[in-house]
Amino acid sequence: MTDSLDRSSVPKIAPGCDLTKLPIGPREGFVLSRIDGVTSIGAIAALCGFPYDEMERVFARLSELRATYFGEAPPWSVPPPPPPESPKPPPVAHRPVVVRSRPRRWSPDELDEPVELEREFKTRILDVFGWLDDLDHYELLGVSRDAERKAIKSAYYGLASTFHTDRHFGKNLGSFKSKMEVIFGRITAAHDILANKARRAEYDAYLLDRDRTKAFERYVAGEDPYEQAFEASIPEPTPVPKPVPEPPPASEPDAPPISTRSAAEEARRSRREALARRLVGSSSRLRTSPAPAPTPSVPAPTPPTAEQSQAAADALRRRYEDSKDNARRSLAKNLVDAANKSLGQNDLLSAATNLRLALNYDDDPALREQYEDVNRRARDTMAETYLKQARYEEQDGKWAAAANSYTKAHEGRPDDALLCERTAHALRMEGRDLHKAARFAELAVQKSPSTADFRVTLGAVYLDAGLFLRARSELEQAAKIDPNSTVIKDLLARARKMAS
């Protein structure tokens, strides 16, 4: 995968690559089936329905296998290696795939720290460390989501051994030591979860929720992959070729007529191809067709005049606009069909997304009403998904992520006091924004003043923020509600001590 990959990049199948023997999963296969050498990644993403980061992962894998490439020619000069006959464990020097296609999150100065590590390894540590919080366990271990247990363990042992500080015993590792330890911890946590059937199932469910909430966030943000795909699928009108100037009077009457006929024939062929490109959206196939041999017996055609060229251009533009309108109507219908299908499968988010997109192409009042209803139901559902996601993150000690998910869940259910309290608790544990934590805790207490636990959370937030008088007051209220709680007694004692 290269850093230059963007939505407009056009992938191509590597020549000589036997696609039937590639060790790939269904996602990679599905994407491969959509590569025609013309369609952009953005359009393929929309066709496949995959999030863009998943497309990046898929193309990273396909590039590694030398199955696809971008640009004029493959960046490698040797033919692709034959795929293994049977599945083999990955090499020891396993590398998280996704990191390489992401921008750097470290300063070049960090690389210059004088430590006893190879520069390449330092780069790798910084790359992985920089993206550590954004990589899921599969990405971190560099395995696919359907990887077998043995592949997970192989990847883990390869990576864990690489990042184990004991491997570099006696060397000055500087600040890289703590980074390696953090990476090792994350790799181990990833392994421990993915190697355990029940925990992996829980994690997969969490990832599914996360994918859904990410899609929802894109939906809320108004990102419209179909729009880009649609635009990409309709070629811009190619400028109509300028009228061929009148041939100058023959200065040499003896010049063979064949050369004049060839030039005219070439101009006609070029115009035909331009028209075909506009209608088909591709030029590569036509370019491979041999040009028809000139027929000496046909008299040379008369070049078009400026008026004729303008008329041809107008006709072409009209055909283009008609083609675009037809495409929009057709797309709207397809989107409504897809929305109805999603509704049948209880996939409200996809349905809402498709309906909203359909409205862009056909602003029908009944369609709008249907969209608004589905949109409301989708948001309700997403609140539940965010809540599940937040609980998993909370259990995993990922407080920043949990705080974010609880906040999103709260947006969907603003009247839920418990959600306010959980959001406050997660924000407090994250420790970055105690003001926001206090606001949520206050909201929870406001909604349910007789719940002692909510007041405890608020008191704890005040304590962390150094607002000891407020903490004491809040915890005294909590103690009145639940006078036997040792937690409240301890916190209250602390608040009184700090306030005095």
């Binding site: 883990y156 042992y157 051994s161 184990h164 500080t165 015993f169 953090v182 911890g185 190697a195 000690g397």
Partner: protein, 324 residues
């Protein structure tokens, strides 16, 4: 002499983990054939192989001369060799005569096991905040993520991060969960602590390669330690036999000797210092006794974690951490 004795055969170096097969040791007298033994146990601290009569075997006869015969086996799985691959050469015959007291009792390991002493030793020497203890801030590593995933700070931490947990440094990515001999002449596939099998516990080797412990590795005091097989000798071996032996072991065991002395728990602290010989022996006995908790009964580890009878980690279920 006890008529159901515990046989302890000390060698000049640590024996290989595959050694100790029953076929390597035979006891005969003029009137009896070979006696049945329980599976011998390798003690990496004392460099011994320990075995006893099997439960179905008749006790030794009083006032009888016996011959203990030690010899290598032709079967690859039963080879008698040192940890570095040096083969047991020749055939050793030791003669002994039993006494007259048929009532004396013995146990497989006569010294009492003090689990709390073992846990205390790990706490004192290994469990600083910078090492295999908790990170008190809980910010960078999290409260349950000590150095290299190994925490030796409590029963629970040992249970979760050390027992039956694969030692990453001696695992092969190409053979996850497999066991065997690595190119360094040290076995791979070992767990950090294999309850019941100190000789398969990587943690013990990490401690044994610390050559600062100036004490003879022998219960009886200084024992002559002959040089290793010429093919396995170090280029510049240390003069001190014990230091040389630790160095030989270190040449095979990946990673650093433990405890790290440079990782002081706090500024100005002299460091943890080496694990004393008595502490190592306590740890060895504790592991061979099942590495039981100091207090109460520990909760089970991760679901699915299992250990084989020989202390090997089940390749399908192990988790991992490393350190020492």
């Amino acid at each position: 002499m006890n008529l159901r004795p515990l046989f302890v055969v000390q060698f000049d170096r640590i024996m290989a983990l595959s050694s100790g097969a029953r076929t390597n040791f035979k006891i005969t007298s003029g009137t009896s054939g070979n006696l049945e033994f329980i599976q011998p146990r390798v003690d990496p601290v004392e460099r011994t192989v320990v075995f006893a009569l099997g439960p179905g075997a008749d006790p030794l006869q009083p006032n009888t001369e016996y011959r203990l015969i030690i010899e290598d086996s032709k079967r690859a799985a039963d080879r008698l060799a040192a940890f570095d691959g040096a083969p047991f050469e020749g055939r050793e015959v030791i003669r002994f005569t039993t006494g007259t007291d048929p009532t004396a009792q013995t146990s497989n390991d006569p010294q009492a096991v003090d689990a709390c002493a073992a846990v205390r030793a790990l706490q004192a020497k290994c469990s600083g905040a910078a090492c295999h203890g908790f990170d008190p801030t809980g910010r960078t590593r999290g409260p349950t993520a000590p150095a290299m995933g190994l925490s030796l700070v409590s029963d629970d931490a040992i249970d979760k991060t050390a027992k039956n947990r694969a030692a990453v440094l001696v695992q092969l990515a190409s053979e996850p969960g497999g066991t065997g001999e690595a190119s360094t002449k040290f076995p791979y596939g070992l767990p950090l602590i294999a309850p019941g099998a100190s000789s398969r516990s990587f943690l013990l080797y990490k401690i044994l390669i610390d050559s600062r412990r100036k004490a003879p590795l022998s219960p009886s005091g200084a024992v002559a330690i002959p040089p290793p097989h010429p093919d396995l000798a170090l280029e510049n071996p240390p003069a001190d036999p014990f230091v040389r032996m630790a160095a030989e072991l270190h040449a095979r065991v990946p990673g650093a000797p433990m405890p790290h002395d440079e990782l002081a728990p706090e500024p100005g602290h002299p460091g943890y210092g080496p694990m004393l010989l008595d502490e190592v022996r306590i740890l060895r006995r504790w592991i061979d006794d099942g590495a039981r908790p100091c207090v109460g009964t520990m909760a089970g580890g991760d679901a699915g974690t299992d250990v084989g009878a020989d202390g090997s980690v089940d390749g399908a279920t192990d988790a991992a951490a490393d350190g020492g």
